[in-house]
């Protein structure tokens, strides 16, 4: 089976003054369609940078990123924007919902940007799956952290992306909400076959994935099967 995501000797350098600091140092990973992969590692090890690069938010300094057959490293900014729109769904630690919009519009916004028009059946299915049907008219400030993250999750999957990239999705949640969100991610993966890459430094959260990649100092040091 062809991997949905593959990186080859991926480097990302950040310039701080005259110094060039490597955030990624030759990362090579491969993720198959339908996989749920957790990436673990200490703060500053390059997890988020890797997520930004494989999601097309940042450009790699060298190496290759192949997402669904598209080489992101050769793409223009506009082309990567288009690829994000159609193939990537992001979930962030701080939810990043638009505070002025209610749940309904936060989710519908992704469909609007996607450009294929509003699909009420898909919307209803996602809202129902994530338990948001009763909270559609509430603004983020009126929702709990767990609810906000569920809205963010709905927004990420509403346009049926090829891959969902979750950056510490439980980092701002209490234990109960974390379990709910992780269970939902697991359910999306199992029931819908959604490919998910999740960054976490919570070993317990990492076990929800099929396998865990460990990062240190900008490199993937080893991979292991997760033990749910």
């Amino acid at each position: 089976m062809e991997p949905i995501l593959k990186t080859e000797n991926l480097w990302k350098m950040y310039r701080t003054g005259r110094m060039e600091v490597p955030a990624l140092r030759g990362v090579s990973i491969s993720i198959l369609p339908g996989e749920f992969v957790s990436i673990m590692g200490p703060s500053g090890c390059g997890k988020s940078t890797l997520l930004h690069v494989i999601g097309g938010l940042a450009q790699a300094t060298s190496g290759r990123v192949l997402l669904d057959g598209n080489d992101l490293t050769e793409m223009s900014d506009a082309a990567r924007t288009l690829l994000r729109r159609h193939k990537v769904g992001f979930v962030f630690q701080r939810f990043n919902l638009l505070p002025t919009l209610d749940t309904y519009h936060n989710i519908a916004l992704a469909q609007h940007i996607h450009g294929n028009g509003f699909d009420p059946h898909r919307f209803e299915a996602v809202a129902s799956l994530l338990g948001l049907s009763e909270r559609l008219r509430h603004k983020p400030s009126e929702l709990s952290g767990g609810e906000q993250q569920r809205v963010a999750l709905a927004r990420a999957i509403i346009s049926e992306p090829k891959i969902v990239l979750a950056d510490e999705p439980t980092g701002n949640l209490d234990t109960k909400s974390s379990e709910t969100v992780l269970a939902l991610l697991r359910q999306l993966n199992k029931d819908l076959g959604q490919t998910i890459v999740m960054i976490t430094h919570n070993p317990e959260a990492a076990t929800y994935g099929d396998r865990v990649l460990h990062m240190r100092d900008g490199m993937v040091v080893n991979g292991s099967a997760a033990h749910s």
Binding site: L57, T81, R85, F90
Partner: protein, 366 residues
């Protein structure tokens, strides 16, 4: 979707929205009122001059069409020569004086008989015509504005006049005194500022004008029907420039406020812009959001500004009832267009900045 988003954005920060809308409204009001006042004054003056009922007016060489700006260099004896011309029925010399005490007014010094022969005479609302050297006639608009009654003393041009009568407005000036009195006061003995000519038939106006031009080469000979079209701001030295400067200041206010408002907005919404980018929003999409929001704010400002203009006019007319303020659909439209274009121009740079934000940096913005 974008519509809903921008409405929610404007409601999210009501004070910012209010200030921007008010700034645009002030801009629109300033444009409408400056143009309305100047064109109102000009139009009112032109209509009143036309209302004298003459067919031709004669002024000294190079005289301004704005009679208040011309002196009195024409010998009154010219009137006798004009009267001899074939197509001329009546000639009325008028000495024009500008009064700046208790307001800005033009005073006509007239000879009642000749002025009546050209204008058909005043319609008296109260009192009598001019009889005594200290008599003054005021029109009904002026009388209402200044609460003047017949028999009262009116102090203008450093002189106490006795209000002899109140006449219907629309005969050149709002204040009329005997020409001899005004000549005496201004030291312009046997002089006139303008001659109003009534032709024997209105279709002889062109021929009569040619006769006058032949008799008085270099003098300004203007058929009255052309007069209104000449009474524009561009014919008054400096007025066009003044209006342009005022419009420029108004546009600068709108531009700067919109610029600052949208600039602070995009700073405040940096993370939201990062979110939109992570969702795959293009640069054009982000520019569209910012400019749509600006258009909405400017439109609200324009509507408020038009309302504010009418309110200002009502208030001004309460205080200065004789002040002519001409609010036209053309200038409402133009002021609105200027405000929206100025606002969009002010929002262009913030919109461009927003569209160029790095998504990773934007998402990390605190």
């Amino acid at each position: 979707m974008i519509g809903h988003m921008i409405v929610q954005n404007t409601l999210h920060r009501p004070v910012r929205t209010f200030i921007t809308v008010i700034a645009v409204a002030v801009e629109v009001t300033l444009v409408i009122m400056v143009v309305g006042l100047t064109s109102g004054l000009l139009s009112d003056s032109a209509k009143r001059t036309e209302g004298v009922g003459a067919d031709i007016m004669v002024q000294p060489p190079s005289a301004s069409i704005f009679m208040a700006f011309s002196g009195a260099p024409m010998p009154i004896a010219i009137g006798d020569k004009l009267q001899q011309l074939e197509y001329v029925q009546a000639v009325a010399p008028v000495l024009v004086q500008f009064n700046s005490v208790n307001g800005l007014d033009i005073v006509y010094g007239i000879q009642p008989e000749t002025f009546r022969s050209v204008s058909g005479g005043f319609v008296l609302h109260d009192g009598t015509e001019l009889r005594d050297s200290n008599d003054i006639l005021v029109d009904d608009v002026y009388a209402r504005a200044k609460k003047i009654k017949v028999g009262r003393t009116l102090h203008i041009l450093e002189h106490d006049f006795h209000v002899a009568g109140i006449v219907e407005h629309g005969k050149g000036a709002r204040l009329f005194v005997l020409m001899s009195t005004l000549q005496e006061m201004s030291g312009a003995h046997d002089k006139a500022s303008v001659f109003f000519i009534k032709c024997d038939r209105s279709d002889h106006t062109a021929a009569a004008a040619d006769e006058v031009r032949e008799l008085l080469p270099h003098y300004e000979v203007r058929p009255l029907k052309d007069y209104i079209s000449l009474m524009t701001s561009s014919n008054l030295p400096g007025l066009g420039a003044f209006i342009n400067v005022m419009i420029g200041i108004a546009v600068a206010i709108g531009f700067l406020v919109t610029f600052l408002s949208m600039y602070t907005t995009i700073i405040e919404r940096t993370r939201e812009i990062g979110v939109l980018k992570s969702l795959g929003a293009s640069k054009t999409y982000i520019v569209e959001i910012i400019l749509s929001e600006t258009t909405l704010l400017c439109f609200a400002g324009v509507v408020t500004g038009v309302g504010l203009s009418y309110l200002t006019r009502i208030i001004l007319l309460k205080v200065f009832p004789s002040l002519p303020i001409l609010i036209t659909v053309k200038w409402i439209f133009l002021a609105g267009l200027i405000a929206i274009l100025g606002g969009l121009l002010g929002a262009t740079y913030p919109a461009w900045l927003a569209s160029r934000k790095d998504p990773v940096e934007a998402l990390a913005y605190e």
